[in-house]
């Protein structure tokens, strides 16, 4: 076991991919000389050269589209979108091309593309740099959406994504880059999809992903004497690992979904709906959600904190859900 930061895990993942496969190249704004907005690609330009660590102009649509074109031609591009917000400028390419080409061509043209982007709020970056669009992207058939929440996943999900024949979007939460974790050095791969149970429990299933996994684990620890919480890290928002979610909720009879994205129409709503469809008669309480408040993320710290799930709000929701007799 070695303690590393999430940023180092991301760095190691990209670097080892560049070393392992000639077809892999990194493309994005300021990935070269600058070393990446979140310093994930620091040092790579000098190691791999400008052909394989390619600085792109501020034209998200064109360089994401170009990465799709290169993937169609057999390359394995890794796109870094500086933040999730800028991905909207490339939305047409992601939704209308990357996600549809395989289908429109009747299975002929697959797009082995990986896009990494920094998502989420929590760094006082205000309304245009704090979105959580992963749930949005999970709406789209043809894409795979993954959300590494710890150093092991940050280190190995990229490899699984590159091995996948179809487009994979990796959402790295901005607040995780500096988090340290023990890297399991015996691991050499993780599956791309499938949820992980990060803590087992009997009274309540907390279903979450990304940066909210750590918050939920802390809430669960603090509640441990009163309520036994199971914490599920979804890891992949598309496809969703229904089997793991359902098995847990059937055991605990209660579900709390923690999602930093806005509540209306979010991935939390989707999970809740699937629980209604498939675990209704196993529920001993209504499904509850702790989500992002329905407001553009405000700048001041106290308001930003209030706008997204926190340990306290997760604990409170868990207590309400379990009721008075536990």
């Amino acid at each position: 076991m070695k303690e590393i930061t999430y940023r180092e895990a991301c760095h190691d993942a990209v670097r080892s991919a560049l070393l392992a496969d000639e077809r892999v190249f990194l493309i994005g704004e300021d990935v070269g000389s600058y070393g990446g907005c979140y310093a994930v690609s620091r040092g790579m330009l000098s190691e791999f050269g400008p052909q394989r660590v390619r600085d792109a102009p501020l034209s998200e649509s064109a360089f994401v589209g170009a990465a799709i074109g290169a993937a169609m031609a057999g390359m394995r591009p890794i796109v870094e979108l500086m933040t999730v917000n800028f991905s909207l400028l490339a939305l047409d390419q992601i939704v209308n091309n990357a996600a549809t080409l395989l289908h429109m061509s009747g299975g002929q043209i697959n797009v082995p593309l990986v896009i990494r982007m920094a998502t989420g709020a929590g760094r006082q970056l205000a309304a245009q740099h704090s979105h959580s669009w992963e749930g949005w992207y999970a709406h789209i058939p043809g894409l795979k959406i993954v959300t590494p929440s710890n150093v092991d996943d940050a280190r190995w999900m990229l490899q699984a994504a590159l091995a996948d024949p179809d487009p994979v979007l990796i959402f790295e939460h901005v607040n995780l880059y500096n988090e340290k974790g023990a890297l399991n050095e015996s691991l050499t791969a993780v599956p791309l999809t499938g949820a992980a149970i990060r803590r087992t429990g009997n009274d309540l299933s907390i279903i979450t992903y990304g940066a909210c996994v750590n918050k939920s684990l802390r809430a669960a620890t603090e509640l441990a004497e009163k309520i036994s919480c199971e914490v599920i890290d979804l890891r992949s928002l598309r496809p969703l690992d229904e089997a793991t979610i359902l098995a847990s909720v059937r055991k605990t009879s209660r579900a709390l979904i923690v999602d930093e994205g806005w509540r209306s129409g979010g991935i939390g709503a989707e999970i809740s709906a699937r629980l209604m469809e498939q675990a209704f008669y196993d529920l001993d309480a209504p499904v509850a959600r702790v989500c992002g408040a329905e407001v553009p993320i405000p700048y001041p710290k106290h308001l930003e904190d209030a706008a997204i799930p926190q340990v306290a709000s997760i604990k409170k929701a868990a207590e309400t859900l379990v009721g008075s007799h536990e």
Binding site: A66, I68, M72, A73, N97, L101, L102, H103, G106, D166
Partner: protein
Amino acid sequence: MTAAAQPTVASGRETALCLLRDMLLCRRFEEKCAEEYSLGRIRGFLHLYIGEEAVAVGAMRALAEGDAVFATYRDHAHALLRGVTAGAIMAEMFGKREGCSHGRGGSMHLFSREHNFFGGNAIVAGALPLAVGYALATKLKNRRDVTACFFGEGAIAEGEFHESLNLAALWQLPVLFICENNLYAMGTVLDRSESQIDLCAKSSSYRIKSTCVDGMDVMAVLNAATEAVQHIRETGAPVFIECQTYRFRAHSMFDPELYRDPEEVKRWKLRDPIPAFLSKAVAAGQLLTTDLDLLEKEVAVVVQEAVAFAEQGTLEPVEDLLRHVYSEREILQSVGGVK
């Protein structure tokens, strides 16, 4: 018979016959499409290329087999000229699984990896970045292949046009940009959407070698494209060609053409690329007037067989609905999770 996508090898009669046959094939094939549409056997949107054939016929003949082609939703001629069979295209429009996109795409989404033909893209300007990326891959793989990208003049108003030209020039990528300027972006005439209607001025501003040719003259297009392809292969740098052309038919089948004067259409029809080329070639002694009848007969058979092939095609079973969302080796896994 297929329209072979070979570079111009011979001049004179042989080339002339090929060009005429290619243009006729596109024209007659699309007339049949219009007919089938009015009968309800082709559905969805149907955009016809009639009147613009000289552009694709001239440009495609300049390309080699290993080159790649990206086209728009007005893509029947391009697919045909690239060598996709008329039957596979017609079957695609009939929604049959024998179609070149297995029936999933329809008229606007013709694809054939086998022919390096990448659609069939129905978002205006959406394919330009793809072509740039495909050319980037070519360059990274140290190949000399050209990526040709067709688009209408409407695409020039899109940001992706400018972003793509910038990337292609900045990174010196082997892309042949072919602008099919038919004057109207659906119903909006060029000078109502562009402040600068000199399109080469725009592409030149990215320091891309640019030329403008008469898109009703198949030889002019062929010559310009041949020169461009040679330049790209030699330098690895992109080239932009504007082909001034005109579509004789409405934008799509359901278009009463309120935006243009019928007189204007008539005037352009006098420049129909097929008779124009025929009379020139006859005058030059390359063709005989009787060649037209022979080619008409040949083409009629191709079109007829295409319809028969499409009619005999089969429909994909509904149980296969969820196919082709993820690559096949993944399908069992993903269908389980993604409903």
